[in-house]
């Protein structure tokens, strides 16, 4: 059997190695006591009964983490706030010391001989709480008199951020022929990777070294956060990871459990493993989105955009996760005006704290928030002004001749042909044939709608250069080390194919190690769709460095000047002769031995890229049940050069369906009175299913970026960034004929049916977030 990806045989045969696949002699197991209430002062914790239970090796509380010198979990990189203000950083202990602030927060860690014994002991712990008032929405958190979560954050607002020119925007609105505004809510969701988070820690008392086997998107970020929390020197913390079963952003940060497990390993003198249950994933994995927003657009009489004004109020949860503010703020700054040439724009973002799971990155990481706002607003303007939504977009798109484009807030897009992308999508989607399809659906009693989104993303530039290293083995295998960790993105295949193409070697020669503690590299975790332009560029440099070494060796072997040696398809040849030697031969002769001459470390530094696209969605709604069915979906994306179109299509499929999940039903719901989490399992949290999506058409319109040697742009998240607005525009377009004028996600059957009923009965035409 052949597999199109190098990693597929391992995955298909169950040979992948995840956290729960690691086992060591004498291994113990941990379990956590979690807060069962959303906001309370801890009066006392009685662990005596738990400590005395059979098989229990340690019961760890905040007193122990304090004794170990643990500090607050890291918060976020400084972000400049409005008027010179700074991000206010709440303390976040590994184990709650005085106050619990969300249901699911870790309070006590128990280590025992078996996982069941640890769970039994958790139930024997008695915590006395004194309940505090809860605040469950960002709107409530910023209201006067709201319960306060952190002494360091008066008013529960961690930062107010502004980008753009508010005065220019105000002036533009003054003189506008039309002003259109729209309030939207982008609901809280749970990322739900297949592999629950987990951690196995080993401690060597001789050397002081910790080996931490953990779900990670990249060892550098994970290690830095664990070092910051535990105070253990960087050289003693070794992250080990092989396969990681999904992440989407929520395997970037070091969860508090990981530091606790490290301490558990030291205190018990044994390897300690903990793997979350699915219930724990729901209760304590970072959540995402949860943004209330208002958008306004000013237009002249011809429908030209004069200005955008946006206000975002983000529910950040009970603490500020390291990636939270980046997601909430920087994506909006980078894509403030989308694909439009608008002379003025401003966005104000406030980050509010509530008694809920902290918010962080999740596929798209802020871009689906700004793209959803802009593209819904553009459709709203088209509707209110009676202009065709395609025409309104076409009138305002940045033309390709204007590239590189300086954005309204002083940033830039390097490349792109937005009108061509739009045209290609409209053609593939048969936009103009929609009327006939709608009529046919109408004859069956169904509501059919079409919608589009023209959007742009900014991919991660990276905090450091990306280093890669090739190590040549004794049997011809070439092991590639890199930081950016695959948690489903096909790095193994993509890297191997890139190197194979340049070096003229079969791709099977290459293997990938992301999280090998023996090889410490600088680099960035996977995130922001940046791996191919970041690590990919470094691999291109690596290949050139290997060829350069080969050229010197070939010159010696062929007794020629290296300047006369050309390299093509894996073979060095003296120009104009038939005298040659293959790279493979040179590797065989020289790679071994103590010198390891072919072993090479290379690096590259790349900035953000700006993938963009046009997605067209077509849905049908059965008004009897409110069920929304995605009948056609066309995605045309400019991701620059595509190295492996199958992998790109897979990324698009996954991201589009992930967006469809949020549009159709995913919704993390807390009880507003008690702060209890109501959607804590897949019985209540509606993941998208294969039957929800039909007719995906994926196409590309590459405009290679000049900002990296490969000409690639990011591709991992564009599907979500496009699908949220495209799908919701299509759904609202289907509902407008029955009188619905507004609809917030999610478009669950009951909510859609309710909106249709309310509009038809004249009760209301706006169906906003509850």
């Amino acid at each position: 059997m052949t597999f199109s990806r190098l990693e597929d045989r391992r995955f298909v045969t169950g040979a992948g190695r995840y956290v729960s696949d690691w086992n060591f002699p004498g291994q113990r197991h941990a379990a956590f006591l979690r807060a069962d209430r959303a906001h309370a002062r801890i009066v006392s914790i009685d662990i005596e009964a738990a400590r005395a239970m059979p098989g229990v090796r340690a019961v760890i509380t905040a007193a122990d983490t304090a004794a170990a010198g643990f500090r607050s979990l890291p918060c976020a990189a400084p972000i400049p706030g409005k008027g010179g203000s700074a991000l206010l950083r709440p303390e976040r202990p590994v184990l709650a010391a005085d106050v619990v602030r969300f249901v699911g927060e870790c309070v006590v860690c128990v280590v025992a001989d078996t996982a069941i014994a640890a769970q039994d002991a958790v139930e024997a712990i008695i915590v006395e709480y004194e309940d505090l008032p809860v605040v469950m929405t960002a709107e409530a958190a910023v209201a006067a008199g709201a319960p306060q979560l952190h002494p360091a954050i008066p008013g529960n607002v961690a930062i107010e951020f502004e980008t753009g020119d508010p005065l220019a925007v105000a002036a533009a609105f003054e003189g506008a022929a039309h002003v259109v505004s729209l309030d939207l809510h982008n609901q809280r969701v749970v990322g739900s990777p297949m592999e629950p988070k987990g951690c196995l820690a080993r401690h060597d008392p001789e050397t002081g070294d910790y080996f931490v086997h953990v779900c990670t998107q990249g060892t550098t970020g994970m290690r830095a956060q664990l070092v910051a929390t535990t105070g253990i020197p960087d050289e003693h913390v070794h992250i080990v990871a092989e396969d990681v079963g999904g992440g989407f952003g929520l395997r970037f940060n070091a969860y508090p459990e990981y530091s606790a497990i490290m301490l558990a390993a030291r205190l018990t003198g044994a390897p300690v493993r903990w793997v979350a249950s699915r219930s724990e994933v729901f209760l304590s994995d970072e959540h995402a989105r949860g943004v209330s927003s208002r958008g306004e657009v000013a237009l002249d009489a011809e429908g030209n955009f004069l200005a955008f004004r946006f206000n975002f109020l983000n529910d950040m949860g009970a603490y500020i996760a390291p990636t939270g503010p980046v997601v909430a703020v920087l994506s909006i700054r980078a894509c403030l005006a989308g694909v439009y040439r608008v002379p003025a724009a401003v966005a104000n973002v406030r980050l509010a704290l509530t008694n809920s799971v902290p918010m962080a990155a999740y596929r798209g990481a802020g871009r689906p928030v700004i793209s959803y706002m802009i593209e819904r607003l553009v459709d709203q303007a088209a509707t209110e002004l009676g202009i065709d939504p395609v025409e309104l977009r076409r009138r305002n798109l940045i033309p390709p001749t204007a590239m590189p484009w300086k954005t309204v807030n002083g940033l830039g897009y390097d490349s792109g042909d937005f009108p061509a992308v739009l045209d290609k999508a409209l053609g593939l989607a048969d936009w103009h044939g929609f009327a006939a399809r709608r009529a046919e659906a109408s004859a069956r009693g169904h509501l059919r709608g079409i919608g589009l989104a023209t959007f742009i993303e900014s991919t991660g530039g990276g905090a450091s250069p990306d280093e890669v290293e090739a190590r040549f083995g004794d049997h011809g295998e070439i092991t590639i080390h890199a930081v950016s960790h695959s948690h489903g993105q096909s790095h193994e295949t993509a890297y191997a194919e890139l190197l194979a193409a340049v070096l003229g070697l079969p791709r099977e020669r290459f293997r990938l190690r992301n999280g090998d503690p023996a090889v410490r590299l600088a680099g960035n975790p996977t995130g922001g769709s940046r791996t191919m332009h970041g690590v990919g560029s470094a691999l291109r440099v690596l290949a050139d460095d290997i060829i350069a070494k080969g050229r010197e060796l070939a010159a010696r072997a062929l007794e020629a000047a290296s300047a006369d040696i050309e390299f093509h398809d894996g073979v060095f040849r003296i120009s104009g002769t038939d005298r040659s030697v293959s790279l493979d031969t040179l590797i065989e002769r020289h790679a071994g031995g103590p010198e390891r001459v072919f072993d090479t470390r290379s690096s590259a530094r790349t900035g953000s890229t700006f993938p963009n696209g046009c997605h067209v969605a077509e849905v049908e709604i059965n008004p009897a049940t409110g069920v929304v069915s995605i009948e056609r979906y066309t995605a045309v994306d400019d991701a620059g050069n595509l190295l492996n179109p199958t992998i790109v299509a897979g990324q698009m499929h996954g991201a589009i369906v992930q967006g469809a999940g949020q549009v159709l039903g995913e919704h993390a719901i807390y009880d507003l009175e008690t702060g209890q989490f109501l959607t804590g399992s897949f019985m209540d949290y509606a993941m998208p299913k294969a039957v929800n999506v039909h007719g995906l058409v994926i196409a590309d319109h590459p405009v290679p970026t000049p900002t990296n040697v490969l000409g690639v742009k990011g591709v991992g998240e564009a599907g979500v960034t496009g699908s949220l607005p495209a799908l919701m525009n299509a759904i609202l377009e289907a509902l407008r004929p029955v009188g619905v004028t507004h609809f917030d996600m999610p478009a669950t059957p009951a909510r859609v049916w309710g909106a249709i009923g309310a509009a038809r009965s004249g009760e209301g035409r706006r169906f906003a977030h509850a």
Partner: protein, 270 residues
């Protein structure tokens, strides 16, 4: 999961004795509800008495004009049984739509009926068809068996042995699966047995119930127009984070219409 003792008895009396002599013992059939409950530590039985291998609880047969199905019969067996498909195809179709393949390969009819989850599929068929639940102690009419959310007429330790279904002249089931769980958000089973129309609803309320208004209307004329405009009283229906009661009331009518449509368009009248 807490520790428990697993026992696989060799006979029905032995199973009954084990359940009677251990207060904390619970019967284990397919375990589709019980095992998740154990995993969540929401239940702490002393013993699990596995009754799935008992011969007395097995078998599918038509006897004296009734379809008899052993309690330990798995959904997949009901769905694919030629006997069921010929004698009561609506029941086979219902079984084919329960849960997913994993659930159908493990879950049993007796387990589902004994559990009486308000969103389970089988109770609607048992009630609409007017089936009889035979236990190791007695025979219980469907009308008397279901007593609201997770409540039945079963006494402690009493085990369902088989369920006996009259062969309907016409029958069909339609359900609206919950978008997350796949359980029936509302399911409606319509049956015509001995000339009498019976309509049973699952998922919408706290327990399976008969929609008598629709029964009367369909008894008068067996066509869609008879129920298309019936209002369903939402007063006692379920309301939760997924849907208000009014939505489930609407689904009762819509699913009834779908079930009726299946009956009316089916070539065999089933």
């Amino acid at each position: 999961m807490y520790e428990f003792t697993y026992i696989r008895p060799g006979s029905l009396p032995e199973a009954a004795a084990l359940l009677a002599s251990n207060e904390g013992a619970k019967p284990l059939s397919g375990g589709m509800t019980l095992i998740p409950t154990l995993k969540q530590r929401l239940s702490q039985p002393s013993h699990l008495v596995d009754i799935t291998a008992l011969a007395a609880l097995k078998g599918i047969a038509v006897v004296d004009g009734r379809l008899e199905i052993g309690a330990a019969t798995r959904h997949i067996e009901v769905a694919t049984s030629s006997v069921v498909r010929q004698s009561l195809p609506a029941l086979a179709a219902l079984a084919a739509g329960i849960g997913d393949p994993q659930v159908r390969n493990r879950g049993t009819m007796g387990g589902s009926v004994a559990n009486n989850d308000p969103a389970a599929d089988y109770p609607s068929a048992v009630l609409a068809l007017g089936a009889t639940v035979h236990t190791d102690r007695r025979a219980i009419a469907a009308e008397d068996f279901f007593q609201g959310m997770f409540a039945t007429a079963l006494e402690p330790g009493e085990l369902i042995v088989r369920i006996s279904f009259p062969l309907a002249e016409r029958a069909a089931y339609a359900k609206f699966p919950h978008p997350a769980s796949g359980y029936a958000m509302t399911g409606v089973f319509i049956a015509v047995v001995g000339g009498a129309v019976r309509v049973a609803v699952t998922g919408a309320g706290p327990g399976v119930f008969r929609w008598t208004q629709a029964e009367t209307a369909l008894q008068a004329r067996f066509e869609s127009a008879a129920i298309a405009d019936l209002e369903v009283d939402a007063t006692d229906l379920n309301a939760d984070i997924h849907a208000p009661a009014a939505y489930r009331a609407n689904l009762v009518r819509v699913m009834a219409l779908r079930a009726l449509e299946t009956i009316l368009t089916s070539s065999k009248g089933q």
